[in-house]
């Protein structure tokens, strides 16, 4: 068995993906025993980004030159690069207004001082580097992160669900919010793996795990528009975690 050298880094994000690792309380001592946290500023001092890594787990979107530098450095130094979390894979919440000029958003927050800030539209890692594997979620599920670490010990990746939230939602015997309550649930177009956490709480899926493979976006829009939700609202909701959808896509 190998003892992998890990880099864990956050770019433009809320640190929830890294926190999810630290939230694996029961497994943390085992994890500490089996991995070297060579670069993990949030958890360990004296981080060394110049080491050779077996895997780099990167959280967050890329929105500053600094982010990009960290990302490229880790890509060059790591055998595997793993995107963790919706932001790293799709852009995430920070990218929800990417259709607006960045400068306007910056000025809304910082006023004239905004002009000195080096900040561009948040984009997923894949836009800049090759990504070997991805664990989605906002935040990712503990179980999926642990399965990924366990697989890394053997030099592979786990099989994670690629089907829509609805399957898990139905098998939990939740009431369907879309059918029963006409709510704009994004379960049909969202990737499962969360065991339908939100519908289980009677809260419609907000799509935090990003688009499912082959989402029938057009049919989902038609269905919800027929139920009285405005297209504008639907587009806004879809964009919350992933700014780029093909609204015409059926297959």
């Amino acid at each position: 068995m190998i003892r992998p050298q890990l880099a864990i880094a956050g770019l433009t994000a809320c640190f929830g993906c890294q926190l999810t690792l630290l939230n694996c309380e029961a497994e943390l001592p085992d994890i500490a025993d089996r991995f070297n946290f060579t670069y993990f500023p949030m958890g360990m001092s004296s981080p060394d980004i110049t080491a050779d890594f077996d895997a780099a787990l990167v959280e967050g979107a890329v929105s500053t030159p600094c982010d990009l530098e960290t990302l490229v450095t880790l890509r060059n130094r790591s055998r595997l690069l793993i995107a963790i979390g919706t932001c790293a894979i799709f852009g995430g919440v920070a990218a929800m207004c990417n259709e607006e000029p960045r400068s306007r958003l910056l000025r809304t927050v910082y006023g004239p001082a905004a002009d000195g800030l080096a900040s561009f539209n948040p984009a997923p890692l894949e836009r800049f580097v090759t990504v070997d594997f991805a664990v989605t979620g906002c935040p990712p599920e503990r179980g999926e992160l642990l399965a990924t670490l366990a697989a890394l010990l053997r030099g592979t990746f786990p099989a994670l669900p690629a089907y829509p939230v609805c399957l898990e939602c139905r098998s939990r015997e939740n009431a369907c919010l879309l059918i029963e309550r006409n709510e704009p649930c994004l379960g049909p177009v969202t990737r499962a793996g969360c065991n339908a956490r939100c519908p289980a709480m009677a809260v419609h899926c907000e799509g935090c795990r990003g688009p499912v493979a082959e989402a029938n976006v057009a049919a989902e829009l038609e269905l919800l528009i027929a139920k009285g939700v405005s297209r504008e609202e639907l587009v806004r909701r879809l964009r919350r975690f992933c700014p780029e959808w093909d609204y015409e896509q059926r297959a």
């Binding site: 433009t12 994000a13 809320c14 640190f15 929830g16 958890g43 935040p139 809260v203």
Partner: protein
């Protein structure tokens, strides 16, 4: 000849920060604390969104305090639309905020600060050097997370807390599970306090902080913010009292109150008379001296006391909910209207303020978010300077270590500060 000591990145804190200490001719010149976190611009992202989307988005500011961000935004929105929630909903909200407090304090104390007591790199080394203590901390942390996951439906970024009520209340079985989990860790929390009783930092005299906190927990929008000098002001008046300025080297705005840099957080709350349960009061009495006399270096100890208090309060809430089990989803209908809402709550790291304005359709037209670490930024930078000056001549590596520990004493949450 000038030189710079760069601490970059700051480690064992949430977010990206750096400290640069400038020396001129070998003498200390000045210090710059920079929160270099990439701004996500939440205050701009929220504009144009419908009111019910705000809580779902805003909790993403920060993973560690997502629960309290969510709850604060609910209160602010409810204030704007004149919505009042029932007691059961209030209790669920208070419970999750306590769960967040337990998780956050346990994470900070046991995973991020504790390694300093042993001169270690971090939690992974504790697993071999002090496994029992790490385990204890993780058990506490897990209890906090259990609350957050059960009440919120999702551990980070809770989904279950809604404007006007809840998706689903806790079940009796769930409450029983929480009760036994909390009862198990209550003694662990009590023991933990001793561990953080002795301060870590070099004895440098730092000015006594000017504390600030929300008067009561949980705070309703009608509440007040109190300051160490005895003054107080209504939350809704925050804009006239707090001044936010943009610092050139940091992405977080810096906050002052009448020209002073306030200190918020656990120590501030204890000094300003937070309401505590009997078990926490007993331990507070044992360490009261340090907590009022020592300034920021006692913040970890204050967090340890609060950790105990949060477990105690969470248990109390569980008992209250068990005594009157919630039956329905308790969602109050919300009719949006033009208006503004402001709410402040005590997040684990201190005072958090949300302010929103809505048009008649309930679309958000303006937002303002003030976070604890942004408030603490000024005091933190001031103290770093004072410490660097007092330790002049000390080995640079040791100086860096001391300064990083000082930053950690404030328990900064940089992703909140920059948002």
């Amino acid at each position: 000849m000038s030189s710079v000591l760069k601490i970059s990145p700051l480690t064992r804190v949430e977010g990206h920060g750096t400290v640069h200490v400038h020396f001129a001719d070998g003498r200390f010149d000045r210090v710059e604390l920079a929160f270099v976190e990439a701004p996500r611009l939440f205050e701009a992202l929220l504009v144009g969104k419908r009111f019910d989307e705000l809580p779902e988005i805003i909790c993403r500011i920060c993973s560690i305090c997502s629960s309290v961000h969510r709850v604060t935004s609910l209160y602010a929105i409810e204030q704007a639309f004149g919505v009042e929630v029932n007691q059961q909903t209030e209790l669920h909200r208070e419970l999750i905020v306590n769960g967040g407090q337990i998780e956050s304090h346990a994470l900070h104390l046991f995973c991020l600060v504790l390694p300093d007591y042993y001169g270690l790199r971090g939690f992974a080394d504790l697993a071999t050097v002090a496994p029992g203590l790490l385990q204890a901390g993780l058990r506490l942390k897990a209890a906090g997370n259990l609350i957050q996951e059960m009440v919120g439906g999702r551990l980070i970024h809770p989904a279950n807390l809604l404007i006007g009520g809840l998706g689903k209340p806790l079940t009796t079985a769930g409450l029983h599970r929480l009760r036994s989990a909390l009862q198990e860790v209550l003694p662990v929390a009590a023991d933990a306090i001793e561990q953080f009783a002795s301060p870590l930092l070099a004895e440098v005299s730092l000015p006594f902080p000017s504390f600030m906190a929300v008067a009561n927990r949980p705070s309703h929008s009608g509440g007040e913010i109190v300051c160490g000098n005895g003054s107080s002001f209504p939350i809704v008046d925050y804009r006239n009292r707090l001044t936010e300025t943009i610092v050139p080297h940091s992405h977080a705005k810096q906050c002052t109150v009448s020209g002073e840099s306030p200190t918020v957080g656990a120590l501030a709350r204890l000094n300003l008379g937070a309401r505590l349960g009997p078990v926490a009061i007993a331990s507070l009495n044992r360490h009261g001296q340090k907590l009022v006399g020592d300034g920021i270096t006692a913040n970890s100890l204050a967090q340890a006391v609060e950790l105990l208090a949060a477990v105690e309060r969470a248990l109390e809430i569980v008992e209250l909910l068990l005594a009157a089990p919630p039956t329905d989803c308790m969602q109050v209908a919300v009719t949006p209207c033009q208006g503004t809402g402001t709410a402040a709550m005590e997040a684990p790291r201190g005072t958090l303020i949300h302010h929103f304005a809505f048009d008649s359709r309930g679309i958000c037209t303006a937002t303002d978010i003030i976070t604890p670490t942004a408030i603490n930024q000024g005091a933190m930078e001031r103290d770093l300077g004072l410490m660097a000056r007092s330790l002049e001549g000390v080995d640079r590596q040791e100086l860096a270590r001391q300064l990083e520990m000082l930053v950690r004493a404030y328990d900064p949450c940089i992703s909140c500060a920059v948002h």
